[in-house]
C-alpha cells in the first residue's frame, strides 16, 4: 500500500536536539577512514546517500554487530562453552574480533534544520495514519524492512535532512538511529575520530538484538 504523502508532510521537523552522533567506520589498508562513506542504497533506509549514525556509542556498535552476526558467531571467545550469567562478568570486557574487522569510531556533529523525529507519539500517529506499519522499525532484512524503504523513497519529497528512529539493534530507551540523507550532509559541522581502532566488547555483542534466528549461539 502506498504511503500517504500529505499526511507524512504533517510530521513536524525541527532542529536536532542531539547534534552529536556516533558511527563505526571501516578501516582501509592505506589512508584514513572515511566517516562519510556510504555504500548506498543499502540498509533499512536506502536513498541515493544515507549515512547511518546512532545517538549513542552502544547504538553504533550494536548496529555493526547486528549487521555482521555471522562473523560474531565465528568470533566465539568462550571456546565453544557459550556465555552464561555466571561467566558474563569474566568475558564482558573482551573484544569480539576474531573474524569481525575492527572499526574506527567517529563523533559526527550536525546542525540539522529539518530532522524528523519519528519516535514521538505525534509522529507515530501520523505515520500510522499515512499507512506506515510501525512494526517496520524492527522488521528484519529477510522481510525487506517492512515499510521503511518505501518511506525512505519519499525523503526527497519530504525535504527531510535526517530522521530519528528506533534502533532495531539496540532496543532500549537510551539510543536511537539517525540516518542522515543527502540534504543533511551539508549540515555536518564536525567529524572527530574518537577511537582509531576498536572492537565491540562481548557485553555489547551480547546486548545487541539480532534479526530472527541470527543471534550467535555462543552469546546465550
Amino acid at each position: 500500500m502506498a504511503l500517504n504523502l500529505d499526511i507524512l508532510r504533517e510530521i513536524p521537523v525541527g532542529e536536532a536536539m542531539e547534534s552529536v552522533f556516533y558511527r563505526a567506520v571501516y578501516i582501509p589498508l592505506r589512508g584514513e577512514p572515511d566517516p562519510l562513506f556510504s555504500h548506498s542504497p543499502t540498509g533499512r533506509w536506502p536513498t541515493a546517500w544515507t549515512l547511518y549514525t546512532g545517538t549513542s556509542e552502544p547504538v553504533a556498535w550494536a548496529e555493526y554487530c547486528r549487521n555482521h552476526a555471522h562473523d560474531i558467531e565465528l568470533s566465539d571467545v568462550t571456546g565453544g562453552v557459550g556465555l552464561t550469567s555466571a561467566t558474563l562478568p569474566s568475558y564482558a570486557h573482551l573484544e569480539v574480533a576474531k573474524a569481525l574487522p575492527r572499526r574506527s569510531l567517529y563523533e559526527l556533529s550536525f546542525e540539522f534544520r529539518a530532522m524528523a523525529d519519528l519516535t514521538s507519539p505525534w509522529a507515530e500517529d501520523l505515520l500510522s495514519r499515512a499507512g506506515f506499519d510501525l512494526r517496520s522499525f524492527y522488521a528484519d532484512r529477510s522481510s525487506g524492512y517492512g515499510d521503511c524503504p518505501a518511506l525512505a523513497a519519499l525523503v526527497p519529497q519530504l525535504n527531510w535532512e535526517a530522521v530519528r528512529v528506533p534502533s532495531a539493534a539496540w532496543q532500549r530507551p537510551d539510543g536511537f538511529c539517525v540516518p542522515v540523507f543527502a540534504r543533511g550532509r551539508e549540515r555536518l559541522t564536525g567529524a572527530v575520530q574518537k577511537l582509531d581502532s576498536a572492537s565491540p566488547s562481548v557485553a555489547l555483542a551480547a546486548a545487541t538484538s539480532y534479526a530472527a534466528g541470527e543471534r550467535p549461539g555462543w552469546l546465550g
Binding site: V25, L29, E57, N67, L74, S85, L94, P101, E124
Partner: protein, 187 residues
C-alpha cells in the same frame, strides 16, 4: 464497581475510587464537557509508545544483563595490526596479505600444495587468476581491520568456510560480503 469486577486476588478496598470502567455511565468522563480522548498512554515499561507493541526481540535475560556491562564497556581498544605491502606478485600477495598457507590456497583449487607454492615463481596460471585476484581483493578490503591473521580466520572459519565457498564457485558472493564491511548500514 464491586470486588466481583476484578480478577480474584487483585481487588482491595478503595480500589474502586482509582479505576473507572465504561460500565459506570453515571460518572463524569469529560465527554459532557466537550473533551475528547485523543491519546491513551499505558505505562508499563521503558517505552510508552505504540511501537512498544512492535518489538520483536528484546533479547534474553542474559542480553539485559549484558546491556548493563555494555553501557560501561561498549568497545575494546585494539592496536592497529601491522599491514604488509602488496608485492605485485599475485601468489605472494594472496599468501602474505590473506595470511593463507600454500596448503589452504591449494585446497581452494583442489591441487597439490607444491603446485600452489610454485605459482610464486612461475606465476598464476591464467585460468586461476580470476579467483586469485578475488582472494587478493578480499584480503585488501579486510586487512585494515583484521590484519593478515584475521583475514585468514575470516576466510577459513565456519563450515562451510568462505574458502570452501570460493572453491565451490561462490567467488562473487564472498567478495560482496567483504565489501559490505566498507559501510555500516542500520539493518
Amino acid at each position: 464497581m464491586t470486588a466481583e469486577t476484578f480478577e480474584k486476588g487483585t481487588w482491595r478496598p478503595g480500589l474502586e475510587r482509582l479505576v473507572w470502567t465504561c460500565e459506570e455511565q453515571d460518572l463524569p468522563t469529560g465527554w459532557e464537557l466537550g473533551h475528547q480522548v485523543v491519546a491513551v498512554t499505558l505505562y508499563g515499561g521503558p517505552h510508552s509508545s505504540e511501537v512498544e507493541g512492535a518489538l520483536v526481540d528484546l533479547g534474553s535475560g542474559l542480553a539485559e544483563e549484558a546491556a548493563a556491562f555494555a553501557v560501561e564497556i561498549p568497545h575494546v581498544i585494539t592496536p592497529t595490526p601491522s599491514l604488509p605491502r602488496l608485492s605485485n606478485n599475485l601468489a605472494e600477495d594472496v599468501h602474505v596479505v590473506a595470511g593463507l598457507t600454500w596448503g589452504q590456497i591449494a585446497q581452494v583449487f583442489n591441487i597439490s600444495e607444491r603446485a600452489a607454492a610454485g605459482w610464486r615463481t612461475q606465476g598464476v596460471p591464467p585460468h586461476r587468476r580470476e579467483t586469485m585476484e578475488a582472494l587478493r581483493a578480499v584480503a585488501v578490503t579486510l586487512i585494515g581491520g583484521l590484519g593478515s591473521e584475521g583475514v585468514a580466520r575470516w576466510l577459513s572459519a565456519g563450515n562451510p568456510s568462505r574458502l570452501d565457498r570460493i572453491g565451490a564457485g561462490q567467488v562473487t558472493e564472498v567478495a560482496e560480503e567483504a565489501k559490505s564491511y566498507k559501510d555500516t548500514p542500520a539493518t
